[in-house]
């Protein structure tokens, strides 16, 4: 069966520090991968999605970047965090031809202080 791992679960970082959040998927090949951000009490904002290794689409201009060095690995990064980067970050995966049903990780709560 397929599983998605996302870590860390919580992270507290000072303003200006770098960021690296990692997500891996097991049990499937060539998944579509996604990073979403969710502010407290609000909806889901799509940040990045990837349909293959090295292929990244960005939805909004921002202080963040994403990379996909391996088929089932998706990384969210920043060189210098801003206060506004605080939020709940969710990784998700889907498979073409199955209605694009998304399966989410457990999320990372990032607090930038």
């Amino acid at each position: 069966s397929q599983t998605i791992h996302q870590w860390p679960a919580t992270l507290v970082q000072p303003v200006g520090s770098p960021l690296s959040l990692e997500c891996t998927v097991e049990g499937t090949s060539n998944p579509n991968l996604y990073w979403y951000r969710q502010a407290a009490g609000r909806g889901l904002q799509l940040l990045f999605y990837s349909v293959g290794i090295g292929q990244i689409s960005s939805e909004v201009p921002q202080n963040l970047s994403a990379s996909r060095p391996q088929d089932r690995q998706f990384i969210l990064s920043s060189k210098k965090l801003l206060l506004s980067d605080s939020g709940f970050y969710l990784c998700a995966w889907s498979v073409w031809g199955q209605g694009e049903k998304l399966f989410f990780g457990s999320g990372t709560q990032l607090s930038v202080l």
């Binding site: 609000r42 998700a92 399966f103």
Partner: protein, 112 residues
Amino acid sequence: GESVGLHLPTLSVQEGDNSIINCAYSNSASDYFIWYKQESGKGPQFIIDIRSNMDKRQGQRVTVLLNKTVKHLSLQIAATQPGDSAVYFCAENTISSGDMRFGAGTRLTVKP
């Protein structure tokens, strides 16, 4: 569509009552719709989906209704239980596309 700048609307129901959560979508080309449930501090979990060639689909205690004429989607939960308390998101996309768009979400609170 995506409404990430809005605070969540809320719905409060009594345990045992039926709940109806509504969602309006904007893209008339969308052909696949999903409802997700998100409990506090967790990622969204799939509840039920429906394709645009259907107007109703039933699951266990849940029913999704799709009205393509007015671009409206609803989730009905029968005999709502305290464990149903969560934020519910609708999502839309086209099966051939690479991303899914979420609605603003509705917070459901079930009173015992």
